[in-house]
Each structure stands twice: as C-alpha cells, then as structure tokens.
Symmetry: C2
Subunit: 381 residues, 2 copies
C-alpha cells in the first residue's frame, strides 16, 4: 500500500513508515494498553517487544485471548521463505512466537516455503532453496521452541498432507483476486500463482483460532484467508503485526538481504559486527564531538538507539538512561554504537550456541516430536 | 481449434471433424501405411484401431519405434479426469494402451486427475471426484494392463512424489502461455491454473521417450510439454492421436457425459443398450424399408456402422460385408442396429466380468505391484 512518502506491500517496504496511519490504511487494530495488560494478567509478564510496541497492531487478538480464557485454546503459525542466511530482523517473529508458546503452552506451526522461494526467483534452483531451508531451520529452532509442540515443515515435503485442503482453498481464489495481493501478472509462472493456497493451509491445521505473528507487510495475504476461511468451516486467522527493525544504513525501509551492509547476519563474527556498526549504522548524533555535546542526538532517526530500544536492551531503566544521555549530548555516537556492538555480539554468541544444539533437534521438529508425528499422520481436508 | 464448420479444443468438440485438415491445423503427422507396417513387423500383428485408422495421427511415433529398436525402450502414459460413469468412448485409449503394453512389454503410467475434475467444476466436491476415481480405476484395469508394469495414481495421493518436478515445470510456464491452451482466464481459480504442470509431470517419469495415446483434442496440452521438456533434461512427449467415436445421436461432435442418450455407459444393462441403440442411434439408412432397399444407406453418417467399424467388429471380411450389404440396401437399419446391440452387449458383459476381477487388483496397480512400489519410493525432481 503506497501512501505519501512511504509504501508497504508484501514484496517491498520503502520510506519512513507511519505506523499509526498504516493501521488505518490496512484496517487493522492498534494493540491498546488494555490488551497488553490483559496478556500480562494471563501470562504474568509482558515481552519487551509488546511493551516497546514493536508488535503494535493486530486482527482478532482480543478474540484469541477470549477463546483462550474460555478454554477453547488457539494455535500459532508463522513461516519463512528460506534465504542464503538470516539476519537479526528475521528473528523477531520467531523470538516472539516462541515466547507466546512458552507462556500459553500452545502448538506452533512453522512453514518453510522452499517452493515459493524457488518459483519467485529465476536464479535459484530448488536444491538451493532446500539447502537454505535446512540452514534457516537451525536458526528458527534456536529461538527456543518446544520440540513436542512445534511442527516445522517444508512445503516440498509436506505437500501430500496439505494438497487436498490446498485445492479446496485454491478453488475459492481466482487469479484476479490473488494477483493484486501477491504482486502477480499474466507473465507470472503458474506455480507462484497457486502458491497462496499453500500459505493459507496452515491457518486451518486445527479447528481453533490461528494467531499469526508477522511483519505488518504480510497482512494482505491474510485478508484473502479471512475472506474464505469460514466458508470452509475454519476460523478467520488472527494476527499480531510487528514494525520493521530499520536497516543499519538508515531509518527508512526494512533490512534487505540484497544489501549486505544494511543488515547484521546471524553468522556475522564479532569483528564483522563491530566493523558494520561503526561504519554503516546510521546515526542521529552530531557530526563532531563538540556539536554532539552541545546539541545531542536525534533518537527518531538513530539506528543504534532504535535497535537497542526495539530488540537488544530489554532493561527499561537502562534504555531510558541511554536515550536521555545520548539525546542530551552526554553520550557520544561512538559510545552508543559500542553498547550496541556488545549487545549484538552477546546475542549472536548465545544464538550460535543454541543453533549448534539445534542440529540434533531438527528431526524432532520435522518428523519425530509429538506434534510432528501427529501431523505426518494427518491429511488436511 | 475452430475451422470451417467444426471445432476441436481440449474442452469441446463440435461439428463434423475433418481429420485430414486437423492434422495440418495441429501440425501433427499422419500415421502412414509404412509406419503401421513397421509396427506390425515389430510386434507381429496390427490392432484394428490402427488398421481402421481410429488412431490416425502422431507426433514422434517414428522416433519411439527407433528408440525401441535401438534398445532404449520407451514408456506409455495416459490418464483420466474421473467422472460419475465411463462410456465406451472413454475405453478407446485404455484398450489401445493396454495392447501396446502387451506387445512392447513397456511400463504404463495412468494419472487419475481427481484434483482437476474437482477444481474445474463448481458443483463437484473432492469426495465425489475421489469416489469416481476409485470407480473409474476398475474400468481402466479391465482394459487388461499388467499389474507389475502399470502404475495407476490419483493426483491427490501421489502429489508428494510429483511436486518438486511439478514446480520446476510450473516455473517455466506463465499464465499467458497456459490460458489459451487450457481455456482459462483471469476468473479461473488458482488451482486449475497450476494443474497443467501436474499433467506434464508423468511425461518425465522416466528418462526415455514417453508415448501418449489420447484423443487428438488433447494435443495442445502436449505442445506445452514439448516446449519445455528438453530444458529440464527430458524428452519431448510423443503422441498417438485417436479420432472421436461419434455420439449415438449423430455423426458430429463427441460423446458427452452430460447428454446421457449420446453414449452407451459401461454400466448400461442389455435392455438399456438395446433401447438406446434402437431409439437414438443416428441412422444413415432410408426412412422406409422400400427406400432402403432401393437407395441403400449412407455409411459416412451412419453411427451404428461407424461404431462397428471403429470398435466392435474386428473381422475385416465381416465389416466389409456389412458395409456392402447395408450400403446396397440388402441390409436394413434395424438389422445393423441389432448387430451392434449384440456386439455391444457382448463387449459389456466381458467388460463387467473383468471389472469384477479388477476389484482385487486395485491395490497392486496403485500401491503393491512391482512398478507401483518403485514409484512410491521415487521423488520426481
């Protein structure tokens, strides 16, 4: 959706996004303080990504909580189009989904769209996207999912179980309806045209409400689901939408795998992290020490501050103090960048330890865990 | 393809088809006497459907025979969109394919498109088309296939094994390319748009030449296959095309399941067969006995004669005699119809016996026969 000087679509995010206006444009709901407190009252705490409003918008989150309180339960669904390497922005929905699972004890389904990635890009082979799938799954597991309540599946493997339901969904969606939502036209290949039905299937894995944590740019996909779900005897998918972690290189758009200096990769070593942050991280500080001491930094456009705020500094008192000192000029750009470098390297070190351990758990998430076993026995109709 | 006063497309056959012109229009090859004799010299006999030229056109049949003689072999592929009941016209490709298998000893793959049938018709449920699939498979087995060299599969079951190759095919076909061939437009659902890739997959089940016996109306589907097969490392599909057995009700078009009096169903009992032939079979004979004795019948438009010629009277001497007597007025319309009734009921009785026996063989063709076991172990890439 293009509006003023920014644009948010499932295939592109450009400009400085006005999230309050986006809620109106997309017709979603703001996550109110009341709703946040309701979650806190149920689970006993509030994730920083909720508190800091990186998850800021929703559809039917209130109904999900209502169902949960009524004992009907719900389930979580998210996914990933595999890529050569994941960057830290990619971890946001997985970290938050794992937290929701820990707190609510519900099932999580994670779709790895090795088919979509292959069909969308002329340059990629299916061998490549499947290899990336296996690699990305390790990073996803490292977010902390429960191996007995989480099913991670690749489309090219799980298709047999999804296909009957997929064609029931497909029968309800015309080319006209999907082309605008998915950015397709008559020159699109016939596989990618069919693909939306496979993205919708997991929203119907259980006869309960499905909650999807994802970037708000993905919202249009789920509108199609909401148009047809009830006619097939399932619930409209609920969603909880996140903002975009700004790219290193500036406060606009979102991190892009095709611009390596715009992102920190989960595989970046400490030296690379330091070099990237020092060299590329877009600063709201002043160009000289003297000016910074005198005028202070503009936090609204400062990427290191925003990364700390939205992701890496969970301590409310500490982030408040960093903001205050940096804004007033007491803290210099080099200092806040150094704080971020440490936080990032700390996060990445722990992530890589968890990723290493994940290697032995892949078979549980995909095939042998309690939920996985159930899912392989089930044909979705 | 519409031309003059007839039209032949994969979804409609109208008017009196000029098969010689169709060969030119479609750009296929006529099956020459030389090619027929080559088949006879290899297998020792010639099927009446070849001799009487109901199979009359081909693409690369000469190359198939060349491959076979060079020891490279080939394989056969045909299929069916399941329907509530099959009529005798539906048996033509299966009877001929079974004969080719018996003579050449090659593998046969039969795709049952329960997905396609469901997605093409708003009124049908997936349960229905799968039920029809199971029913039609019995009729197909009754044509006489080898259970260890024939694999019959339903798309909704075998999709897992086909999907990786299907998306490689899909990636090479745009909506623009398939829409004309398959009669689609922007209001078509996204499942039926993807479907052509699943129809192409079986042409690549083996790294040999694939020969497809089918009605000539299906030819456009295979042109898409021939455009992309070599780029994926497979052979262009060869085909052998049949004419249409005229509908009971007249010499134009083809039998239609939606006009019950136009066809003899495999389940029609002897009384029904007699009633339908006597009442509906379009006659080239004269309106009165006197006129028939004097002027004789027009064989070109006489449906009972054509059914006998193309299908039910295999004896060359006998069909010659029937034609001569009926054309001269020595034989009356009622008499030729009675001959057809007997032949038909004889065929149907034997068919139903074979169909009964087929019930115990379904599991071999689908899952447990030698070829089926191999196919379930193979993922097509």
């Amino acid at each position: 959706m293009a509006e003023g000087n920014y644009s948010v679509t499932p295939w592109e995010v450009k400009g400085k996004v006005d999230y309050d206006r986006l809620i109106i444009q997309f017709g979603t709901q703001k996550i109110t303080e009341e709703l946040r407190q309701e979650i806190r009252s149920i689970v006993g705490e509030m994730h920083p990504m909720l508190r800091r409003e990186i998850f800021f918008s929703h559809r039917d989150l209130d109904l999900v909580l209502k169902d949960w309180k009524a004992g009907k339960g719900f389930f979580l669904y998210t996914g990933r189009a595999p890529s050569l390497g994941m960057h830290i922005g990619h971890m946001i929905p997985f970290i938050f989904t794992a937290w929701l699972q820990q707190k609510f004890g519900v099932n999580v389904y994670i779709e790895i769209t090795d088919d979509e990635k292959f069909m969308r890009n002329l340059d990629y082979t299916l061998d490549q996207t499947r290899q990336w799938a296996l690699d990305n799954i390790l990073d996803i597991i490292a977010a902390g999912f429960d191996p007995d309540k989480t099913f991670i599946f690749q489309d090219t493997e799980y298709i047999r179980n999804m296909y009957p339901l997929a064609i029931k969904i497909a029968k309800k969606l015309t080319f006209s309806e999907v082309k605008a939502t998915f950015g397709l036209d008559v020159s699109s290949n016939i596989g990618i045209i069919f693909y939306p039905s496979l993205q919708i299937v997991p929203t119907m894995f259980e006869k309960r409400r499905c909650l999807i944590p994802a970037g708000i740019d993905q919202d249009p996909y789920w509108r199609l689901q909401r148009d047809i779900a009830e006619s097939l005897g399932y619930y409209k998918a609920a969603q909880i939408h996140s903002k975009f972690l700004p790219p290193l290189t500036g406060p606009e758009g979102k991190m892009s795998s095709s611009i390596p200096e715009s992102a920190i990769y989960l595989s970046d070593d400490p030296k690379t992290v330091e070099r990237k942050i020092m060299k590329y991280a877009f600063s709201g500080g002043q160009p000289t020490i003297e000016l910074q001491r005198k005028l202070g930094a503009n936090l609204d456009i400062d990427v290191p501050y925003q990364w700390l705020y939205y992701f890496f500094e969970e301590d409310d008192e500490r982030i408040r103090k960093i903001g205050e000192e940096y804004k007033s000029g007491k803290m210099l750009t080099g200092e806040i960048k150094q704080i971020l470098v440490e936080k990032l390297n700390n996060f990445l070190e722990k992530h890589r330890e968890r990723r290493e351990k994940a290697k032995e758990m892949v078979k549980d998430f995909k095939y042998e865990g309690k939920l996985a076993v159930q899912m392989w026995e089930k044909i979705h109709e």
